[in-house]
């Protein structure tokens, strides 16, 4: 009979040795999985940060571009009107298109330049000489955008008389622009012509049933600020 205890011990050693490569492989796999997950997490976080920063950049760009677009539209119009003024001869369409393109590209270049442009444009807009240029252009083209721009800007600058005037000019060209009627009534009211403002609004409400106009009417009637 063998020494079974010794044989058992030998077998246990054998089994340990036999399983060692399996344990080592499993351990290495586990280690690899951990390293992989760490790498994945870090690279994921890095990408997320990158994404966030790009998102922030994008949102900033978006905000800038929105304001830029708004301002640029005004600039476009100003430029177009200036261009229109300078041309006496009948416009040749391709050339005009070309000119437009050249203007577009020059404006785009401006767009690309800096956010500073916004401030500059505002300054230009609030400059009375530029208002005169827009007024001049309106007289030539009767563009309600120009007259509305002037009405809004004068109202904003508390020049209610001029605001009233340019709102009226707008209404003369197109009597369906609600904003123009509201500025006209508000300017009247600001100038102390409250009854006149109420009458204008009543006439407009009868025609358009505008809620905005009704709200403004109530405010003027009750003497609330607007």
């Amino acid at each position: 009979m063998y020494n079974i205890q010794a044989l058992e011990e030998e077998w246990k050693r054998y089994r340990r040795n036999k399983r060692r490569p399996i344990y080592i492989t499993l351990f290495l796999l586990f280690l690899f999985a951990i390293l992989l997950s760490i790498w994945y997490l870090y690279s994921g976080a890095f990408n997320l940060n990158k994404y966030r920063s790009s998102q922030d950049g994008n949102s900033a760009k978006t905000t800038a571009s929105v304001s830029m677009v708004f301002i640029d539209q005004t600039i476009d119009r100003l430029e177009d009107k200036r261009h229109a003024v300078s041309i006496d001869a009948p416009i040749d369409l391709p050339d005009a298109v070309q000119d437009d393109k050249s203007i577009d590209t020059s404006i785009k270049k401006k767009k690309k330049k800096k956010k500073k442009l916004h401030i500059e444009v505002i300054e230009v807009n609030s400059n009375p000489s530029s208002f005169n240029q827009v007024a001049k252009r309106f007289r030539l083209g009767h563009d309600t955008d120009d007259s509305m721009f002037l009405a809004k800007q004068y109202y904003k600058n508390k020049n209610y008389k001029k605001a009233e005037y340019w709102a009226l000019q707008t209404n003369k060209v197109n009597e369906n622009i609600e904003e123009s009627w509201l500025i006209f009534a508000k300017a009247k009211a600001k100038r102390g012509q409250r009854n006149e403002a109420i009458r204008i609004l009543n006439n407009y409400i009868k025609r358009s049933h505008s809620i905005e106009a009704k709200v403004l009417l109530e405010k003027i009637k009750s003497g609330k600020t607007f």
């Binding site: 063998y2 079974i4 044989l7 077998w11 089994r15």
Partner: protein, 270 residues
Amino acid sequence: MKSRYESAKNVFIDSVDLDDYIELKSSLSAYQQLEHSIAKPLKMILLFGRPGTGKSILLNRLQEKLKHKKEIHYLDTPAINEKEFFHKIFKVLTQKTLPQNTEVNFSALVNYCKNLRGKREIVIMLDEAQMYGPEMMEKIRLLSDSRAVKFIVSLHKTDDEDLVAKEHFQSRIWEVVELHNATLEDQTTYIHKKLLKKNLFEIANGIKAKNMKMIHKFTKGNYRECNKMMFTIFEICEYYDKNEPSKISYDYLPQRIIEMAALKLGYLHV
């Protein structure tokens, strides 16, 4: 009470016992080939294979089967020297014992054989023939040339013995019968049949295909190695059955025990 594992263990004691002979596909084929070769007018037949492939038991079986039909003799152990060998041959041929202090005259023996041609047909099976020297083998060849004596020479197939076989028998051997290690299927049948012969059905049933695969892997299908392995396995089982019965069940043979046996026999190393 005698453990069933003890009986199982004894089944695998390595011996050339015809009662324990297990008929397998491969051994049956070798037997038929050998029987067919004996019927041919051949002088010498070479039976060879690796140790433990069942050469001896096949020769025994052949003798047992043909002893009533043919004059067939089986010399299981090689003679220590030439004198002893010829004493044995003399006894086989003349069926007389040589008087003491006398020696066989080889020339006279060859002549005696020549005289027997056509009268008798004697088959002599020499087991473990690799132990005979080249000179002795040459004399055996001369005896076979008489055509009255036919030799079946059983050899171990090793690289060296292969050379011996080539040198001494290549030109004369008419038929070569080679035995191989058992296939997994043959070994499974062998183990099962051995146990069933002793009515150890439960134990035989407990050795599953997986166990058989392991045993075959360790023993490489060698019957002698298989016997050794099975003996060791059942000896370990016997110990557990007697001392720690909770560690053993007749329903199945634990892999642990096979591995322990393999460690014991040196098939495995820590």
